[in-house]
């Protein structure tokens, strides 16, 4: 068997369907971080996002026999993550869509800007963005995923992601416009 790092998602999923635990482990490790990032856009709490990710993998491995490996694994898996996340926040009496801005968890790292006041303002400006713009700027500009990856995670087109990114950055510029040299 070739190195799991060289194998495509679909090849790993095919092997996992035959009971290959190593292939499944490689696939899970590949998708842990993006899955948590997506889940976080819905739950806005790391602990809840972890639960969503575990439940999503729980469902995915049990539905693996039904997965058509001629189709992209990423789209199939992210759909499960989104469904679990929506169910999760629906169960909690919250919104069954991307969550609107919420206060940051205390456990989260401080923003990287040199000026803590500016950093706080920027964080609040990001949190004030509409949900989809917020998700796109978090996934792409903060977490470092590409527009294409974010598009798969959020089940929208790459062009739509770019549009949301453009508008989000414009809003941030407007919000931080008074702060000298803050945004290009």
């Amino acid at each position: 068997m070739s190195d799991a790092r060289e194998q495509s998602d679909e090849e790993l999923a095919r092997a996992a369907k035959r009971g290959d635990a190593a292939a499944y482990d490689a696939l899970a490790r590949r998708y842990l971080r993006p899955a948590l990032a997506v889940a976080w856009q819905y739950t806005r709490r790391i602990a809840d996002a972890e639960d969503v990710v575990q439940e999503a993998f729980h469902r995915a491995v049990r539905a693996l026999a039904d997965y058509d490996d001629r189709r992209p694994f990423s789209a199939w898996f992210y759909a499960i993550v989104r469904n679990v996340a929506r169910s999760s926040i629906g169960r909690d009496g919250r919104r069954a869509a991307l969550a609107p801005p919420a206060p940051l968890d205390d456990e989260q790292p401080a923003p990287a800007t040199a000026d803590p006041v500016l950093a706080g303002d920027l964080e609040r400006a990001i949190e004030a963005l509409p949900p989809m713009q917020h998700a796109c700027i978090r996934l792409c500009d903060v977490e470092g995923f590409t527009a294409g990856e974010a598009a798969e995670m959020l089940d929208i087109s790459e062009g739509t992601v770019r549009t949301h990114l453009h508008r989000a950055r414009q809003r941030l510029r407007d919000a931080m416009g008074q702060q000298e040299g803050m945004l290009p």
Binding site: A16, K17, R18, G19, D20, A21, Y24, D25, A28, R29, L32, R33, L36, A37, W40, I46, E50, V53, Q54, F57, H58, V61, R62, L64, A65, L104, D105, Q108, P109, A110, P111, A112, T113, L118, A119, L122, E123, I126, I137, D141, V142, E143, G144, R169, L172, M182, L183, P184
Partner: protein, 138 residues
């Protein structure tokens, strides 16, 4: 702009990700074992199917050979039945004399129909004596 944006809020500690991956791996152990078992069973099924496929591929030849064998047997059968005495005199009744005299039914009928007078009971008794079992019953 990006340098000014907040840092990722996702955990960075390798231990965190290792622990999460471990939980997911443990949770998947049961289903993966079931998949492995069904994959082995499916593979065995494929081997069985391959054996069937070989048989199916040779089926026309097998059918032709069977038909030829049946034809040869059928052609050889008429010559073998009398020599093997399939119908013994004891087992047959009225038709036994015909067979013993090598008379065909048409020849027997001819002797009766072509006679000058209709056959009497005595004539019939002579021509067609009862089988031994029938004689005892009478």
């Amino acid at each position: 702009m990006m340098a000014e944006l907040p840092q990722s809020r996702l955990p960075r500690e390798p231990e965190y990700w290792e622990a999460l991956a471990g939980k997911i791996r443990d949770d998947a152990a049961g289903p993966l074992a079931a998949y492995a078992a069904s994959a082995i069973a499916a593979e065995a099924g494929l081997q069985q199917e391959a054996w069937d496929a070989v048989l199916a591929r040779r089926a026309p030849w097998l059918v032709a050979a069977s038909a030829a064998a049946a034809l040869v047997l059928w052609l050889a059968l008429p010559a073998r039945v009398p020599s093997q005495g399939v119908l013994s005199a004891r087992e047959s009744s009225a038709s036994s004399p015909w067979i013993e005299r090598s008379l065909s039914p048409i020849e027997v009928a001819g002797t009766l129909i072509g006679g000058a007078a209709p056959p009497s009971v005595d004539t019939l008794m002579v021509q067609f004596p009862p089988a031994p079992g029938e004689a005892r019953q009478q």
